[in-house]
């Protein structure tokens, strides 16, 4: 196998594993806060360094052969079917590894400041390292089974970190919701995986590493299962898994609730890295989707719908983190739109830039929350550009990047996606995407205005965050500025060597920028007027809310999706579970089978025990009666 045995790869995943173990077992007892935080951050930094070294080795290879592999051990061996714990570095996984380890490192450093004083400090860093380990396993895995291991591992880390302050039942419940919703998606993933393995095995292919799969993709295209084309079915099933992990409709409901976790967790897992796993997986398996274009249509439509829906909901939210959460869902929709249009590299590009500016925005939100001692309601903020200047500048950078204002990063990637969607012929999708882009600019501008402009409406004393928090944000801000230009020039050719160079239509660019500008201007007009229009004391949402109160209530309540799920699925399930407990479990199994057997034997014993009278003559009668019967039997056998 080409490119095998490149031992440096495993050193990318080992430091975070060590950090998890050390901080987890020894942290609370033996390490100070400072030491624990540095240990965790250093582990990820080591991963980043090894990723860079591996990248440089990769670049030394000719463009068409960029593949480095390392097999650590054989995990499953069942006859001809084997699955190895094998790692793989090609341009796609190199990009992912760098993003994951780099952004993780910055967030680790930020967390040292944010989580200062928390009694679960070391546990937090232990969990974060745990997450980084599994995320790296996910992106570096050489076969989909190992990738699924990483998939599940990051799901677990997400559950642990969302419910980090588990003593609050709401937060614990948010963790459960995330895990369970993910699980539903995972069922689809596993089904797709098994179908893929079955198709491959039927065609005599037993190794499941990506190189082999990609070479044999036509086996799936040729086969069919229950009347449906296998490649299509596998593609859709795997996408169901991506829907769960990357919070697309209908499995996105866990992401807004996941904001119950610490803000750096939201930044890392639910913005920059874990949620992007679905996009990565589709990019990795793209050879399969090429063989089933219908599956790509499903991806395209779902991504488009989700992007639009989430953007609409974000417009009406009050909690600063919820705005950003729905924004993440929306931007993930954009990434899936790119993949659905066939331009997976554009999706990965947006993934990278989004990681930069969304992490920045979340960290900035964390800074604001930290500075206001826990306040998260936008309507209780305001005027922070005076009290928290550094955070304001950093947030503004993120704001421009997310809105798609050139020359920041978001513009490049978002515009590329819209262009690709348009050129693939899906006009309606493109139009929706454009409208979503405008809404994106609107809601993030609204956030900026409400939080930072005008005068402070709250009661706490606002203070700026320490350097350990602002410096990482600054670095992310810098990446948000230059990342787009650098990415457009270098990233795309790196991911897809041999693809024809891009031609950008000036008209498309103009339309995109216009959409962004429209959003920003509208926000200033609508929200700004509310602020500047004189009614400071009695703060209540006017204009939009006043103009269409029912619509506003609908959007504010997230279109009641959670409530619909509750009524349609959860309540019947709970009732069914309760019924199964009351009838089959208590009555049948406990009552009839278990207790019934006991009662049967007790009564049997009592009945038989009645024969033990202790009276010798009674026994003698029975004896003689038995003797008579015996004699009768023998005689009957003899004479009859």
């Amino acid at each position: 196998m080409e490119g095998n045995f490149y031992p440096l790869l495993k050193w990318m995943i080992l430091p975070p594993l060590a950090g998890f173990v050390l901080n987890g077992l020894l942290g609370k007892k033996f390490l100070s806060e400072r030491a624990g935080g540095i240990l965790g951050s250093l582990a990820v930094l080591l991963s980043f360094v090894f990723a860079l070294l591996s990248l440089s080795d990769l670049l030394n290879l000719p463009a068409a052969d960029r593949l480095l592999r390392d097999t650590l051990f054989t995990w499953i061996s069942a006859g001809p079917f084997t699955v190895d714990f094998a790692l793989r570095l090609d341009p796609l996984s190199a990009v992912m590894a760098l993003v994951v380890s780099g952004v993780s490192f910055l967030i680790h450093v930020y967390s040292i400041g944010y989580m200062h004083g928390d009694k679960g400090f070391h546990k937090y860093f232990s969990y974060l390292n745990f997450f980084v380990f599994f995320m790296l396993v996910l992106v570096l895995a050489d076969n989909p089974v190992l990738m699924f291991v990483g998939w599940e591992g990051v799901g677990l880390a997400s559950y642990l970190l969302i419910g980090f302050w588990y003593e609050d039942p709401e937060k614990a419940s948010a963790g459960k919701k995330a895990f369970i919703t993910n699980r539903i998606g995972d069922a689809g993933f596993l089904a797709g995986l098994m179908l893929l393995a079955a198709v491959m095995h039927a065609g005599g292919v037993y190794a499941l590493d990506f190189s082999t799969l990609s070479a044999n993709a036509q086996l799936a295209a040729g086969a069919s299962f229950a009347g449906v084309n296998a490649a299509f079915l596998i593609g859709v099933l795997l996408f169901v898994g991506a829907t769960g992990k990357s919070a697309q409709f209908p499995l996105y409901v866990w992401l807004p609730d996941a904001m119950a976790g610490p803000t750096p967790v939201s930044a890392l897992i639910h913005a920059a890295t874990m949620v992007t796993a679905g996009v990565y997986m589709l990019a990795r398996m793209f050879f399969l989707y090429e063989a089933a274009p219908a599956a790509l249509d499903v991806v395209l439509v779902t991504g488009c719908f989700t992007a639009f829906l989430a953007a609409v909901i974000a417009v009406a939210q009050r909690d600063i983190k919820k705005v950003l959460a729905y924004s993440t869902v929306s931007q993930l929709g954009f990434m899936f739109m790119a993949v659905g249009a066939g331009a997976w590299a554009a999706g990965v590009f947006h993934l990278t830039t989004h990681a930069f500016f969304k992490a920045l925005l979340f960290l900035a939100a964390g800074s604001v929350i930290h500075g206001l001692s826990g306040e998260q309601d936008l309507f209780k903020m305001g005027g922070l550009r005076k009290h928290m200047r550094t955070t304001f500048i950093l947030t503004a950078t993120g704001w421009l990047a997310l809105s798609g204002v050139p020359p920041l990063a978001g513009f490049y990637s978002k515009d590329l996606i819209l262009e690709k969607v348009f050129t693939s012929g899906a006009g309606f999708v493109w139009l929706t995407g454009l409208l979503t882009a405008a809404l994106t600019a609107y809601y993030i501008s609204r956030l900026l205005i409400l939080a930072f402009m005008d005068n402070y409406r709250g009661r706490e004393h606002a203070h700026e965050s320490p350097a350990v928090m602002t410096v990482p944000m600054g670095l992310l801000a810098a990446l948000s500025v230059v990342g787009g230009m650098a990415g457009a020039a270098w990233l795309l050719p790196f991911l897809q060597p041999g693809a024809p160079p891009e031609h950008h239509s000036a008209l498309m660019i103009a339309i995109s920028v216009a959409a962004a500008a429209a959003g920003i201007i509208a926000a200033f007009l609508i929200t700004g007027r509310r602020i500047g229009g004189g009614h400071h004391a009695a703060w209540c949402p006017r204009s939009l809310a006043a103009a269409w109160p029912r619509l506003h209530r609908l959007v504010y309540n997230k279109f009641y999706v959670d409530e619909i799920y509750e009524a349609l699925l959860l309540k019947p399930l709970a009732r069914f579970a309760d019924w199964t407990f009351r009838v089959p479990d208590s009555k049948v199994i406990d009552g009839a089978l278990v207790n019934g057997t006991a009662r049967l034997f007790m009564s049997l014993g009592r009945t038989l025990g009645a024969a033990q009278t202790g009276n010798a003559q009674f026994y003698a009668i029975v004896f003689m009666a038995g003797l008579c019967l015996l004699l009768a039997a023998v005689l009957a056998g003899y004479y009859l």
Binding site: G609, Q612, T613, G614, N615, A616, Q617, A620, I621, M624
Partner: protein, 109 residues
Amino acid sequence: MIHFLPLTDSVPLAHIVGLGVAVFAAGAFGFLVRRNLIVLLMCVELMLNGANIVLVAFSRAPASPDPQVWVIFMFAVAAAEAGVGLALAVLIWRRLGTLDIDALKGLRG
């Protein structure tokens, strides 16, 4: 009246066996009915005796000395059993003060 009795010096085997079994049945009936422990033991002796009678009958027809020898063994067994049984009866009398079989209910339940 005399001519009703057979003028032979043999009797049907059935009569002797019937006698023995009747004694046995009488002993069985007595064992089930009587309350006094010692009388019970006497009924046991009756049953043994009945069995002996049958054995002696079968010693004659078909002719074989063996059943008679077994009868002699039976004597020894019966004697041993009566000895131990009566010793127990005396002990029970000493402990319980009564020889009513219904008082011996220790194995009830």
